[in-house]
Symmetry: C2
Subunit: 109 residues, 2 copies
């Protein structure tokens, strides 16, 4: 197996799954986000978002905190340090793979 293929085999499957990639992108940009914001922003159903958040929490990438804003309950999700590192590694790996291949639309010689 070549180094490039090793990079692919090391892609973090927890993040690679598109719905979870969406969550990581939103949280990576916003820092943290309320459950309802995430649901609306990503076009998730409640059950779908819950399931994916549980996987990210289990991996230690996301922290979920129950708060109150006045009397309104909020479920605030944020990336952990481990989640940030894993996402940066995933991104660098994918960017390296796609850029090294010149796959981004450049005409084939």
């Amino acid at each position: 197996m070549t180094p490039r293929m090793q990079q692919i085999s090391q892609l973090d499957r927890v993040i690679h799954e598109p719905a979870r990639l969406a969550i990581m992108l939103i949280l990576g940009g916003a820092g943290d986000a309320d459950f309802l914001y995430l649901q609306r922003e990503g076009g998730f159903t409640q059950g779908n978002l819950s399931g994916h958040l549980a996987k990210l929490e289990e991996a230690g990438y996301v922290e979920i905190e129950k708060k109150f804003k006045g009397k309104v309950p909020l479920t605030v999700c944020s990336l952990t340090g481990k989640g940030r590192t894993a996402f940066a590694e995933y991104s660098n790996r994918m960017l390296g793979l796609l850029q090294s291949n010149g796959a981004c639309g450049s005409p084939r010689p």
Copy 2:
């Protein structure tokens, strides 16, 4: 759903799966490749590679041709025009998502 999230929902799942991404990357670089070369290069088992090639062929992204080199049978796999276009679209979409997020931030050690 925001435009960024639409980009994610439009990611081509046929290509996004890591084993098939590996095949697309190898074929994108090499033009075409013999089955045994693909198997060795990607670290695939025979059954695993066959299954993924079948999915790519079904999507019209890969062409599989049986040839002979002297008396030795060869199974030559190559990207179709449709496959090239789909791969370029996938790559541009992923690059756009990861770069726009600045997720590639720190250089990888």
